[in-house]
Symmetry: C3
Subunit: 131 residues, 3 copies
């Protein structure tokens, strides 16, 4: 289980990406936003920002998740990763309803990410000191 936790988190992250992309496609159809436009209805614009912000955060998260796992923190990186996923799901759902409510999930995601960052930095620091 433990050994596969970062892979599970990675798969959940990909499914989250897919979900946020699907919501954008759905809103594009429903509100008749013709591609390549990325504005035209508040619901579409919130969906698009959720997708982009999820993308931005994923590109910061997957590298630190796997660096932390690489340097030996497999279990705790996985746990922090699950926190990140939960925070990002909360963020996405809340933001889709009301941009003003995106803060809670964002902070939880940031805490999960920061934990993987600290583990990655600690592991790297130790490896550099060990020569």
């Amino acid at each position: 289980m433990t050994q596969n936790l970062p892979a599970l988190v990675t798969l959940l992250t990909v499914l989250l990406q897919f979900g946020t992309m699907w919501v954008v496609g759905h809103a594009r159809g429903k509100y008749r936003i013709q591609a390549p436009a990325i504005s035209g209805h508040p619901v579409f614009e919130r969906a698009y920002r959720v997708q982009m912000n999820t993308l931005e955060n994923t590109v910061m998260f997957l590298p630190t998740l796997w660096l932390a796992a690489h340097y030996g923190y497999v279990f705790w990186a996985g746990v922090a990763g699950l926190v990140w996923v939960l925070g990002r799901v909360w963020y996405a759902i809340a933001y889709l309803g009301d941009a003003g409510k995106r803060g809670g999930g964002y902070m939880v995601g940031m805490v999960g990410w920061a934990a993987t960052l600290v583990m990655a930095a600690l592991g790297l620091g130790r490896a550099l000191l060990a020569g």
Copy 2:
């Protein structure tokens, strides 16, 4: 050959990214869209959407490609990855000419991606069951 197929697919993916970025830069110059603007001419806007959509899909694809390879489906993940690359190249070329023609390549790309996702999920599921 087989062993290096996911790496080949990854390299092709990076070159595709570079290609979509290059088209945006070219359109920015040709239609005199001053940075940081991301609108102003339909050709530029299509090029920009192609780049962004390629980026979004790459961030969903590379993790499932490598998870599938990690769990032993090296050859089939590579084959699915080649399908993904071909679909995304078709998508990019078709979309640049006419946004309405982006569907075919998109679907082919999705099929390739879905195959890597299924392999990654199968491999992870087996590893979790094996304890």
Copy 3:
């Protein structure tokens, strides 16, 4: 040290991402750009483009960095990666001040990236030839 250089570069890349995201959030607050809007003030728009361009380039860079390292160019991939990071930091700082000054850092980043790309392609080519 050498063995951990790609990891160090990856961590710096993540911190750069975080920095560009932080600048966008700060500009969003300072110029009162209500989410989900991504335009409304030139400083915000430059910050947003810096973040997005950094994201786009990171997704092209991390795969070639690690492919190059995987195929044995650990040290030189790390050195090229440091050049990339320096170029991208220069790009971000210059662009935030004046979009017209983004060229120098961009080119340095491209040189670093191109070096990792060449190493990745060379390593892959050799591996394919070796069967």
